[in-house]
Symmetry: C2
Subunit: 459 residues, 2 copies
Amino acid sequence: MLERVAAVNVGLSSFADALRVQGADAIDVDWRPPSGGDPETVALLERAWGAHGERIDAANAAALTALEGARPHVVAVAPAGEAIPGFAGEMLLHSGPPIAWERVCEPQRRALVAACLLEGWAADRDEAARRLAAGEIALRSGNELGHVGPMCGACSPSMPVWVVEDPAAGVRAYSTINEGPGRTLWFGVGDDEALARARFLRDRAGPLLARLLVRTGPIDVFDLAAQGLHMGDELHMRSQATTNLLWRRLLPAFAAEGGEDVAAALTANHLFFLNIVMAAAKCASLAADAPGSSLVTLIARNGTDMGIQLAGLPGRWFTAPAAPVQDALLREGFAPADAALDIGDSAVLECIGLGGMAVAAAPAVAAFFGGGAADAVARSQLMGEICAARSQRFTVPALGPGGSPVGIDARLVVELGVAPQITTGVLHEARDAGQIGAGIAHQPLAPFRAALAELVDAL
Amino acid sequence: MLERVAAVNVGLSSFADALRVQGADAIDVDWRPPSGGDPETVALLERAWGAHGERIDAANAAALTALEGARPHVVAVAPAGEAIPGFAGEMLLHSGPPIAWERVCEPQRRALVAACLLEGWAADRDEAARRLAAGEIALRSGNELGHVGPMCGACSPSMPVWVVEDPAAGVRAYSTINEGPGRTLWFGVGDDEALARARFLRDRAGPLLARLLVRTGPIDVFDLAAQGLHMGDELHMRSQATTNLLWRRLLPAFAAEGGEDVAAALTANHLFFLNIVMAAAKCASLAADAPGSSLVTLIARNGTDMGIQLAGLPGRWFTAPAAPVQDALLREGFAPADAALDIGDSAVLECIGLGGMAVAAAPAVAAFFGGGAADAVARSQLMGEICAARSQRFTVPALGPGGSPVGIDARLVVELGVAPQITTGVLHEARDAGQIGAGIAHQPLAPFRAALAELVDAL
C-alpha cells in the first residue's frame, strides 16, 4: 500500500530523468498537466527542469539540508516590543502578506482593534479603527519581522511572545502565546472577554512562562514535535500529545514557581503548542534561504490575500486572493456564507513537513473529515507528490520507513496542478462568533507559477 | 487487510454456529487443534461449546458487560497498610499466585528483603531473610487483597498505594507508585540506592500525590487510557502519552502544592501510569466475576509460578511453572542464562483489552521486536482470535472500526492452542542487575485447560 514517491512524472520523460539523476524516485502517472494547452507554462517548466534544472536541484538540496538541519529552541518569553527587532512605536503585526487597512478582512480588523485597546492606544473601538484607518497606528506583516501568528495573527508590543532561536543558523522567530478556544483575538473576536484573556496572558501567563524557561533552559521544539508525530499529532490541527510533552517538561518548574491559575488556563488549551511549533517552523524556513531554490518556504494568508515565498527569492511575496475554506464542517447554526476566507500564518508548518504533510500521523484529524487511517495516509501521499523529499527527522509509523513529505517544490506544484492543502479553522466574517468550523484550504496555483517564472527569469 | 474476528472456528461447525447465534463473528481456518490426538480435550471442548455452551456464553456476555462497563477512578493515595483491608501486622505482598518463601525467586526475594528494611522489621538483610524464612513476616499474594504490582510487585504497609475504585461495582484495587527505571525494588534490586528511592516515594511523593488528588478529585483511569491508545501507547510496555495526560491533569495542583523534587523525579519515569492502569484493570476484573464464565480475568506470575483465574471461578488459582521470557532483547553483557522467569501482575492489563491485545496502537512497541506498524496489527489480530469481543471503549485507529480484542476466552485458548502473549521486562535472576531486557512471555496452556475443565465440571 505504501510507496515512496519523491516525484510524479507527467508526460515529458526528460523531467523524470532529471529527477532520477538526482537519486530521487519518479513514477509515471496517467495524467496530463493543465499546461497541456498552455505553451507558456510548458516552456516555463522546460526551463525549470531542463536548462536550469541542475542549478535549481542543487539549490533545493541546500535548502532542504538547512530545513532539515535546523534545530530551533524556545529560549525565552518576552514582550513582543522588546523581543522583536524593528517592532517599535504604535505598530501592530498581522498574519499573511502585507495589506492596507482598507482591505483588511473583518475578523482581522476586530482583532487589531482589540490589540489597540490592549495597548491603550485608543479610548474605544471606534477611535482605534479611525486611527488604524488614518495610518496613525502602523500595520506590518508579522512575517516580515520574523513573527508568525495563527488565524488573525494580531500581535501588539506588550503581548508576550515565544522567542525561538536556531543558534547554528543565527535566526530567530516569534509567536504569541496561543489564546485557546472560545472568544479570543486569534479567532477574530475582540470583545471585552477576549481582551480579558489577552490581559491575563500578558500580565500573568507571559511573565510566569518566562520564569519557567529560565529554570528549564532552552527547549528543542522539533525534538518534541518528532515525538508528537508518533503520538497522534500532525502538529497543525492537532498538537495535543506534543503539548503534553511540554507540560511534562515544565512540570517541575511550575511546582517551583507556582501559578495555579496560569496552569489551569493553559492546560485547558489542546493547541497550546501550535504557536511554538509555528515559530520553530518559521526559524527553519528562514534558515533555508538558498539562491535559486524553487522550494516554498512560506505560505501565509490574511483572509484577503494569500502569499507565498520561495527559498530562492527570500522576502519576495507572490500573492493571490485568499481561498474559501472548502470541505468545511461548520458548527450548527452557521452557513457557508458566514465563513471568512482562509487566514493565518500556520501553513508555515506545511513548508517544513508537518500539518497536512504529516496527516498520516493523525488519524483523528482525518476522521474529522470523515476518513480513516488509510485516508490519512493517502492525504500525506498526495502531498508527497509535490515535495522534494521525505523528512529524516519527522517520521510517521503509518508511512513506513520514509518520513513525512518535506520541501514543497513550486515546479511540482505547477506541473501537477496540485496545491498544498492546508487544514485550518473557519472564522465568522461578519460578526465576532469566533471559530465556526474547520476545513481544507486549497491554495491557488497562480502565485506558485508566478514565483517559479520569476525564479527562472532570475537565473 | 483488517478483519473483525471474534472467534476462529476449527473443525466442528457447531462451535461456530454457537458463536454466530451470539452475534459474534466466526471464521473457519485451515488448522487442526493439538487436541486432535487428545480425546479428553476434545470431550472437554465439546462440553464447553456444546452442552454448556449456552450457559457459558451467557455468563461471558455478563462478564464482558461488567469488564467494559467498569469505570475505575483513582480516588486517593494512602499508605498500603491503611488503604488495603486485611493488610495488617508484619506482612508483605508480592506479585503472582501465592507462594512459600523457600520457592520465591531471587529477584522477588531481594525486593521483599528490602521491603522489610524499609519497614524496620530487621536490622539487616540477613535478619530479614531469616524472619521471612521463619514465617515471622507473613507473605501474601497481592492479588488476594486487591493489590497488583508490576514485576516483583513487593508492597509493604508503609508504601503509598494508588486507591482505585469502581463506584458502580463497589470494588477497589491498589497498586504502589511506579518506582521508575534503574535500581529499584520492582526490578529486583534491593540495595541502598533502591531503598533510598522507596523512602523518597514513601516520605515525599506519596503524601504530595495524596494532596494533589484532593485538589483534582477522582480521575477516570480508562478515560485517559482510551486517549492514550490514540497516542501511541498500548498501556503495558508503553504508557508515555497517557502518563503525560496525567501530568496535564495534575499540573495546576502541582503549581498550587509545590514539590519540584517530586515533579522532577516522577516526570523522568515514562511508565509512571503503568501501576495506575494496572489497579484500574484489577478493579474491572474484580467487577467481572460471573458464575459460569470462561473469561480469563487474571494472569499473574511470581517468577516461579504463573497462575490464572476465571470470571466464573473467582479466587480459584490455576497454576503452572512460570515461563522463560522468549524473543528477548537483552542489554549488552547479559545472556539468556542470566534471565529470571516471567514475573509480575501486569498481565491483568491483557485481560481487559490493553497491552498485548492493543499493541496495534503502539508501533513503537512492535518496533522493539523488529516489526513495523503492520506487525503490530497482526499481533493484535492474533490475540483477537482468543478473545470473545472487540472493546467498545478501547478503540485503535489501526484496527479500523473494531476496538481492541477483549475478554480472553479459555475455550478459545485451549481450542486454538494460542496462549496470551505478554510483552514484559526481563530481570536478572542471580544478582541485583535490575532489568536486563524485555521480550514476550508465552503463557503455558495447561492452567487454561485445567480451569476450563473445573468450570465445566462445576456446571
